[in-house]
Amino acid sequence: MFGLEALELARIQFAFTITFHIIFPAITIGLASFLAVLEALWLKTRQEVYRDLYHFWLKIFAVNFGMGVVSGIVMAYQFGTNWSAYSEFAGSVTGPLLAYEVLTAFFLEAGFLGVMLFGWNRVGERLHFFSTLMVAVGTLISTFWILASNSWMHTPQGHEIIDGIVVPVDWFAIIFNPSFPYRLAHMAVAAFLATAFFVGASAAWHLLRGKDTPAIRKMLSMAMWMALLVAPVQAVIGDFHGLNTLEYQPAKIAAMEGHWDNSEGGPTPLLLFGWPDMEAEETRYKIEIPYLASIILKHSLTEPIPALKDFPPEDRPNSTIVFWTFRIMVALGLLMIVTGIWSLLLRRGDRLYSSRPFLRLVLLMGPSGLIAILAGWYTTEIGRQPWVIYGLMRTADAVSNHGAGQLGLTLAMFVVVYFAVFGVGMVYVLRLVKKGPVVSEGREKGAGGPGEARTPMRPISAADEAISHEQGDQLGERN
């Protein structure tokens, strides 16, 4: 199919399904913590704006959560269907870590999510807040397990290989492998930032249309405090993560920097622009800043960073891709920092909510966090190639023995179904955003519960907005 080998098709399929999937959990992680903060502020200050915002973002959280569950079902099976050799070789490590994730998520969904989504008027406020808090903690615990599993594939330790199979020896060492703390921090903070910019863009959209309410102002303000304070922190975490990668996966760093040759020695420049050419073994059209890569990565004016030619061609990751995905991520991160600083300057002149150029930037930055997450994941995962478990198993040996025909067929089906299904889901989320926060939501007595006629239970049913806006009232009546 299009001249692609089965291996490439399997990789594209995994990349496609996980690209769709990651968007939902990222926003779920961020929104869960945001909601916990909103509820805490409501309980502490009793300002209605926090309660209104809580109810507004709760609906969006619910839809997101639902989409994450549906797209996650596929992920639970894809290791076996497409990567059976990997599953057989390393299932004794990956399996338990993923099982713990599922158990945690299951427990969270079973217990506290229901109370959080539908219990506002049915349980005491402390119990409700506790539930929100547990959901927020639960999303982070899920992140913990998934990233432990992923990080082990980057920096495996704590195992032995017996009879050609990975056997866990020390679970603590497996979970807390060298790249895990950095990756976990980087991803969790990325989820917070992505959510902050999504929230900020929602506020900017309303403000640009002249809908200026205290709740919308509060949304923008909170999002911009996050941008100001957390975006620089993320840059620092990213820097530490990079140093860790330099230690454990030098070839990935060389590929990210498009740096080929150290035969002349001396410090490595930082490339601002370039086109790494894997065939010609050089980076074309370079625009470089002398010394900077050595300064950033080696804290040295003389020492070079690793070069791709230090590694045999079959061990080199694709520099053309990771060079650019890395730069996209960093550029977006810098833009986030700039946005945060600009917001601080505007606060001084009290123009935060009225400066149109600024609001337009914030609106445009809406998807920036999600794009940065994807670009970052592409960098780290493609940068690990040709290994699926770094130094232990090559991706080419991990794949199931399927023909290109059936992989092409299923990939085409995934593309069609995902765009149809999750496309509708995303349109629905945007429609909820467009509606905006409603004043005094959640004060009315909610129907439902034992003995009540109407009891919403599932995540998406927490959002009762109709898909077709015009018909909303008619539907509201029926529901």
Binding site: G66, V69, V70, I73, V74, Y77, G80, T81, S84, S87, E88, A90, G91, S92, V93, T94, G95, P96, L98, A99, Y100, E101, V102, L103, F106, F107, E109, A110, G111, V167, P168, V169, W171, S400, N401, H402, Q406, L409, T410, M413, F414, V417, V421, V424, G425, Y428, G449, P450, A453, P456, M457, R458, S461, D464, E465, I467, S468, Q471, L475, N479
Partner: protein, 335 residues
Amino acid sequence: MGIDLSLIWAVIIIFGIMMYVVMDGFDLGVGILFPFVQDSSDRDVMMNTVAPVWDGNETWLVLGGAGLFAAFPLAYSVVLSALYLPIIFMLMGLIFRGVAFEFRFKVVRERQHVWDKAFIGGSLVATFFQGVVLGAFISGLPVEDRAYAGGALDWLTPFSLFCGLALIVAYALLGCTWLMMRTAGDLQRRMHDIGIPLVWAVLVVTGIVSLWTPLTHPDIAERWFSMPNLLYFMPVPVLVLLCAFGLLRSIQRYANYTPFLLTLALIFLGYSGLGISLWPNIIPPSVTIWEAAAPPQSQGFTLVGALLILPLILMYTAWSYYVFRGKVSAEDGYH
């Protein structure tokens, strides 16, 4: 070491799949029965009977997959890669259907029929391919060097296709008797009308599968029909017939609860029959649970979490079914 971790895990996974079959079975069945009910508000009622619980039901499928991966990675990798296409088709069906569920209630009436079709189609596709997966699994998967050694379309046999049809009929009966229990009035009467032919259909397909399996699998025939096994296992087919008889009687007297409970018993008996045929193989015809087991370090580590959390999940599930008991009428909605 007195503890057989593989055995414990096999029991957990068999139980998890059983929960899935029973619980997602009736809500898939509701989707399969949609074409027999044209009235839009009746369809609302049907959906509302399963709306609060369907996604919890499907989580058992994820749990089954993850448990299999953790405890029996060899089985996970061989079975899933051998049955690649039918499993992917099943997942697609489940996605479509899951989202149709949500969005059907959120669109205008005139557009509902689109999501109705997605719901029916998704339910049929998911059920059919679950049956195909089951049939191909029973038929056995060749394994060499700890990897699947068969072809991409080996699952495509008359037997597995028939199992797909059989499961559609079985889930339809499960959905039908579920609706007898959870609805009233015209809709309930309609289900009682459909119920009788469905029971007969289930009896016929069960009979065919029960004969076809031993006829084509001498080792399974050997297990059932040798002495003294035959005596030990005889209660299974006898109880199937008794259940079916009770089922027909209870539907004829328009009972509310009994048909569903007897259908559950039928499904359980069928599942037991399957277990008798296959035990202790986790990849029929030759790989046992012990051969496919993960190292004890992996099984033990995961078991701690499973034993802590599964009871809580079960308690919560029981509670939510308790909350949503009783009849659903057109005025109710969970949205």
